[in-house]
């Protein structure tokens, strides 16, 4: 008797709770849904999301924004065909486009280029004055991130390999903790953690300098190939909104910072500082030969991705780097440069 009652109660509760899931996006069943994977690094993506530009520009669609914590997770979502657009770093994109993943997606926009918002900092009191001094020291960075790629690129430029330093895999918050405790001598990290590190450390190299030396790291936006094929108009509208966000960052940085701050738990002032340190291309630059390129003429971004793929192969994370042609084919340049400015 008692058992039956308990079972009945449990069943009722389970049914009741599944009915009460908290979900404020109420999809309209009559409209198709566009699924967007976003991440919380400051970028035009967050401006578009916060101002609901896509929802305004595409009233005939449901827009579903899903937050992801890493490029690897966005890749997984693409493989599972759960997202149509996704924001991810150049390193995960290179991983996704290389064998064995071979994710059918294309790079349709450049959200930002890492500048002074990512840097290698050495702690005061360690006597480290240059990258070359890092030999034998403990250096922390979040593995598989753009900072990891940049750190190894910086070491290689100074004649060091990953084996010449003690690399430690730490997420930014843990880097800060280990730094304060004196467990690490240097770290390659990004804002806002980077600000704290700079207070008691010396910047050895920033991602801006590495970009100038031909090793840029970028945040990209990818679109599933099948989706782009079926909905070229939607991709056009989406690109225009992304271009609009880039223009807003240039022309009205305060409004941009406010919109981004509303999406991530930071003050508008902090975001404004971060935006200043990050390199945001203009729409013209995005469609220039140096980056995405134009219709039929894929830009130099393909070479950057090839280099990132080579990096992954060196790390033994993929069997072999993918050839340049793969990355050229994976740049979505349809209608560029006009498609951005229309």
């Amino acid at each position: 008797m008692k058992l039956k009652k308990i079972a009945a109660l449990a069943a009722t509760l389970a049914v009741a709770l599944t009915g009460c899931a908290i979900d404020r996006s109420k999809p309209d069943a009559s409209k198709p849904t566009i699924r967007i994977a976003y991440q919380t690094f400051p970028s035009g993506d967050l401006i578009v999301k916060n101002n609901k530009w896509l929802e305004e520009a595409l009233p005939d669609y449901n827009i579903k924004w899903t937050k992801f914590d890493s490029g690897a997770d966005v890749n997984t979502a693409f493989i599972a065909k759960q997202v149509d657009f996704g924001a991810l770093g150049s390193s995960p994109v290179a991983r996704g486009l290389s064998a064995p993943l071979n994710i059918p997606y294309q790079v349709a926009f450049i959200l930002d280029v890492a500048g002074d918002n990512e840097a290698l900092v050495a702690r005061n009191g360690t006597g480290i004055g240059s990258v070359a001094d890092l030999r034998g020291k403990r250096v922390a960075t979040p593995f598989a991130s753009t900072a990891h790629y940049s750190l190894l690129a910086a070491l290689a430029q100074n004649g060091l390999s990953a084996n010449d330093v003690q690399l430690v895999d730490l997420q930014p918050q843990a880097i800060l903790a280990a730094w304060e405790r004196g467990d690490i001598a240097a770290a390659y990290s990004w804002l806002p953690t980077l600000d704290q590190l700079e207070k008691s450390g010396k910047v050895l190299i920033t991602s801006r300098e590495l970009a100038d030396k031909g090793k840029p790291t970028l945040d990209l936006a990818a679109v599933a190939s099948s989706f782009a094929e079926d909905n070229p108009k939607v991709v056009d509208v989406w690109r225009q909104q992304q271009a609009r966000a880039l223009t807003e960052i240039k022309n009205d940085p305060d409004a941009a910072a406010k919109a981004i701050a509303a999406e991530i738990a930071l003050s508008p002032d902090d975001v404004a500082q971060q935006l200043k340190k990050t390199v945001f291309l203009t729409p013209d630059q995005v469609a220039s030969p140096e980056w995405l390129g134009t219709d039929g003429k894929p830009g130099n971004l393909a070479a950057n991705l090839e280099s990132a793929s080579q990096f992954l192969a060196d790390q033994k994370q993929i069997p072999a780097p993918a050839p340049l042609s793969v990355f050229q084919g994976a740049l979505y340049t349809s209608g560029l440069p006009d498609a951005l400015t229309r």
Binding site: S70, A72, N75, T76, I79, A80, R95, G96, P100, L101, A140, F143, A144, N163, V168, D169, L170, Q171, Q173, A174, A177, A178, R181, D183, I184, L312, Q315, K316, Q317, I318
Partner: protein, 282 residues
């Protein structure tokens, strides 16, 4: 969790019955058969092509990843500069240290809590609180307090192992037969004698179950414990490989954790049979 609580006494059924060949046969053949069926189903699922290879890689791909992770190939040592057994060794070392500390403290706490009611009232809410916390929730605090080396990892594993051991021991001590205790006291046994000769032997079988659960808890917290600076370590290997969507290596890590878990549990059962031969027979 790999601590099932089937009393091992079923294995030592009296010999001489006509069915005694069945026991060993069942025990040897059935697990093997289930393994073969599993591998076939896996191969079938991978070959069917319904799922992407990232989700369901071929058994042969995983086998190759296992070989790569276990050997020095093209001048590369295993994964992340360490061979699989080195990863496993570091993890087992951490688990061992964590379990020894956690179970030691847990059993001691359980004995005290079971024997002295007011201590139990004081400590039980804290223990329940700790038991309800997922290790990931407080691991970051351990990093701030204890750094990024072995200390936070071992502490996390110890914290995971402590509550099950303590709870099981408390319950076992409380359930010690009152009749025996009173009889012993009436015969003039001191409080210490009662604990040593009656409470501990009566509580041991259940305590052992608690220990096996504790080891399971610690083992299942391995990936969380090796989230930061976890290489060398199997948990760190799984986390790092998943950051690169490297499914075959993730599966190698999972198998390594699971199989070593089975072996450890088997060893614990062996120890249990020797230490508590009266289990299930009182």
């Amino acid at each position: 969790m790999f601590a099932d609580v089937v009393p091992p006494s079923a294995a030592d059924a009296p010999p001489g019955t006509s069915r005694d060949w069945r026991g060993p046969l069942t025990r040897a053949v059935l697990p093997l058969l289930s393994l073969i069926v599993f591998l076939l189903a896996w191969q079938g699922a991978a070959a069917s092509g319904i799922w992407n290879e990232t989700f369901v890689p071929y058994p042969s791909t995983v086998w190759r990843a296992f070989i790569n992770v276990s050997t020095v190939h093209d001048g590369v040592r295993g994964y992340g500069g360490y061979l699989l057994w080195e990863h496993l060794y570091m993890t087992l070392r951490r688990v061992f240290a964590g379990v020894v500390i956690g179970v030691g403290l847990g059993v001691a706490l359980g004995l005290v809590m079971g024997s002295i009611p007011w201590v139990r009232s004081v400590l039980e809410p804290w223990l329940t609180f700790l038991r309800a916390l997922p290790p990931l929730a407080y691991f970051f605090l351990l990093v701030i307090w204890l750094g990024i080396d072995e200390a936070p990892k071992v502490t996390l594993l110890a914290l995971a192992a402590l509550p099950p051991a303590a709870v099981a021991t408390t319950a076992a001590v409380v359930a010690a037969p009152v009749g025996l205790i009173e009889a012993a006291r009436a015969l003039g046994a001191s409080r210490w004698d009662v604990v040593k000769d009656i409470v501990v032997p009566a509580a041991l079988p259940e305590t052992f179950t608690g220990i096996r659960l504790a080891v399971g808890m610690a083992y299942s917290s391995v990936v969380a414990a090796e989230l930061f600076n976890g290489i060398p370590g199997v948990g760190g290997l799984v986390k790092d490989a998943s950051n690169y969507n490297n499914t075959p290596v993730v599966l190698v890590g999972i198998f390594a954790i699971g199989i070593s878990g089975l072996i450890i549990d088997g060893l614990l059962r062996g120890v249990e049979r020797r230490a508590v031969p009266w289990r299930g027979k009182v």
